[in-house]
Amino acid sequence: MQIRHVLLATAAIAGLAGTAQAENVLKWGANRDIGSLDPYSYGDSFTINVLNHVYEGLVRYNEDLKIEPALAESWEIMDDQVTWRFKLREGVTFHNGNPFTAEDVVASLTRVSDDTSPLKGNLPAYVSSEVVDDHTVDITLNGTYPLLLNDLTNIHIFDEEWMTENDSLLPTDIGGGVEGFATYNANGTGPFIVESRQPDAKTVFVVNPDWWDEPQHNLDRIELTPVNSAATRVAALLSGEINFTNDAPVQDLPRLAAAPNVEVLEGVDLRTVMVGFPFREKLTTGEDNPFTDNRVREALYKAIDLDLIHEKVMRGKSRIAGATVAPPIPGYVPELDELPGFDPDAAKALLEEAGVPEGLEFEFSCISDGLVNEEQFCQAIASMWSRVGLAPKLDVAPRAVQSPKRTNGKTDVYILGWATLPMLDAYSPLLQIFHTKEGNSGVFNWGGWSFPELDALVQQAGMELDLDKRLSLETEALKIVKDQNIMIPLHQQPMAWAVTDDVTEMPLFPDNKPRLWFAQVAE
């Protein structure tokens, strides 16, 4: 059975229909579509991930998620400590044949850091960039900053000439009400070229024969089809209409694994699921807030039976976490992973000691379309807390509804999952979650806490260019998070992909991003 897709009607009528029947096709059934062909259009990591097959950054992650040169061959920090000089790869061309030069880098950085760009935050330290010569670029930052390379892995490089021709030097401004050329067209340097796109139906990529790197994949063609309904996705995989999905539903894994033609790839995501507490004076009920007392936070931690959640709710597929970052994340040390142990009696004693009234009511906010089995583990946790004499009011709603409530402090206790993306470093949660909310820091500090000692460590780490010193500062800060129970980690959630047996190589990445330039299908 072959559903072939016709690129253009005119072509079809003229009899030029999509006959490019490639031999090695990866039919990817995703759980949703990409937002557009413009990676700078919407702050959506899936869109950026998919478009990374078309566009590339100056640096990239390798198979072990270590940073390696991509469009830049080498780099150095200049004497002033705030300017980085990048030596660009020569002989690289864009899909339209234009050569890749320093102009392109400057134009791309300007575009992504424009005020109307939703991805501006991905390049927090950027000030300006300058062409030194055709293949050398200087990037100036607002201070010494060690994580520029991490940030640059996700900044895709566009062709300056192509953007100028098509009036796309700035990102599409939705408020302006005008469509952008880059929404429908793509021109990168990456291993795949966009052949056609029908939103919500199919996006086809073909291999770029002129890619500068030695391909490790053997694909000729990728057909990305969003299949939103989990049941349909499973059916499509079983019937071979797709041969890869990056979201195999947890409840269907046994069935998929039992099918003779399907292989399930399971792993643990980097995303750490945590419980956050309010540090405001009053709860949403108007009562005094007892959670500012560390004994209360510790009591709530001890009242949660992590093993039970792991076994029953997560079906044994999660990794119980003691640290607020996952083990592969720089800044993690095993000592952070110690667990307090499930002890409801100790929890009761602590609550009593802290003078928490019996039956204390507070709002417990969870997201229905958020983390893996979030609704279920929230219910479990709520009943565990009820058992030690509290009265959590479970509030479950979609992300779009909960997010504004959380940012406006209209909730008490909440669940947050953090994967440290796109930085892949402990600095990410430390700056965005645990730092005091001020300026660009603590955007996700929904509880409104402030630990000056921690802030100082984070700021120091943010300026420390020596890797070991920086990581030890981050570890120290994470220790404060742990000792103070600012947020209590529950687990790293499971992730599962599935392939049919004609896919021979599909490396599973813990950041849950498919990188198909490492994939192989049977010839």
Binding site: M1, Y42, S45, P118, G121, A201, S403
Partner: protein, 330 residues
């Protein structure tokens, strides 16, 4: 008659305005689109700025007035998520939904009418009883269950038909259709059956009731007495007189089918308007949601107005204000 026409059109316009207002009130509870648009590292200031730029900080009435003013000029803005002109998005998706609704309607008539006649003629037979029972199942099974069962049977077990998607399509101007290609037709089978299930039983029950009524009429008895063959009486004379209400119902149900298609489209990943709307809800894509609701409301209102006006034209009594309440409003 002209006064009546103007009155009806004014009514329709009022309904549209009310729908738009309701939509804008409801959007308040959908959450904040900005939280979905920016990425994790955006600062609070960036978020506030984007919200301001999108005009989300304006009052409900300001937003509503702006929307109506633009909508009257056919401007629905740019989708937050797809960054495409909303009218273009809907124009691209409408043919897909139309294919589905068209085929489902045809299936419901082709299957529903004969079944209705059979159950009326052989009223007490086991077959008719079984069909009647089956129709209850048809009415009560939610269409996503029907969809999943069809996929399991025909895609997974038998491997005959695709589980999702629209197959190959042919574009005619801005219109696209899957009816002209083999893969497009194959892709249409399962979703249209799933969408038609409810409709089949509706048509069948309506035809049955009408047939039972008609078969008692005097002219049928006369035809019989004249010696016209029974089957000819039943399938020709009786059935023809039953079809008027069926046609009216089918017309009125097109709006419903477009709305129901939302579920079917989600199950079969059918790139139609319903799918677009579901995605828009997930991402709080207000321009798309607003435009979709307005267009669906427009289809309903237009169908109703046309039916009302036609009825009034056919039957002058209905032009009278007092009688209008009993008009064909549903």
């Amino acid at each position: 008659m002209i006064a009546f026409l103007i009155k009806r059109i004014a009514n329709a316009a009022f309904v549209m305005l009310a729908v738009a207002l309701l939509a804008f009130i409801i959007f308040r509870f959908f959450g904040d689109p900005v939280e979905m648009m920016v990425n994790e590292q955006a600062t609070q200031a960036d978020r506030a700025e984007l919200r301001e730029r999108l005009g989300l900080n304006d009052g409900l009435i300001t937003q509503y007035t702006r929307f109506v003013t633009n909508a009257v000029q056919g401007e629905f803005g740019i989708s937050y998520r797809n960054q495409q002109d909303v009218m273009v998005l809907i124009k691209d998706r409408f043919p897909a939904t139309f294919d589905l609704v068209l085929v489902a309607t045809v299936i419901s008539l082709v299957v529903g009418i004969p079944l209705g006649v059979i159950t009326a003629i052989y009223r007490e037979s086991p077959i008719a009883n079984a069909l009647q029972l089956g129709s209850i199942v048809g009415v009560s099974l939610p269409s996503f269950v029907v969809g999943i069962l069809l996929i399991l049977a025909f895609s997974v077990s038998l491997g005959w038909l695709p589980a999702f998607g629209r197959g190959e399509t042919v574009d005619i101007g801005w219109w696209s259709t899957g009816l002209l290609t083999p893969s497009g037709r194959r892709a249409l089978v399962l979703p249209s059956i799933s969408l038609a299930t409810f409709q089949i039983t509706l048509v069948m029950r309506l035809v049955r009731a009408e047939m039972l009524e008609t078969l008692r009429a005097d002219y049928i008895k006369f035809a019989r007495a004249r010696g016209v063959p029974t089957s000819r009486v039943q399938w020709r004379h009786a059935l023809r007189n039953c079809l008027m209400p069926v046609i009216t119902l089918t017309g009125m149900q097109i709006g419903n089918l477009i709305a129901f298609a939302l579920v079917t489209e989600t199950v079969f990943q059918w790139p139609g308007m319903g799918m677009l709307f579901i995605q828009a809800v997930t991402f709080v894509d207000i321009p798309v949601m607003a435009a979709y609701l307005m267009i669906v409301a427009f289809i309903f209102v237009a169908l109703n107005t046309v039916v009302d006006v036609t009825y009034a034209w056919v039957d002058p009594r209905l032009r009278d204000d007092t009688a209008r309440a009993g008009g064909a409003n549903g």
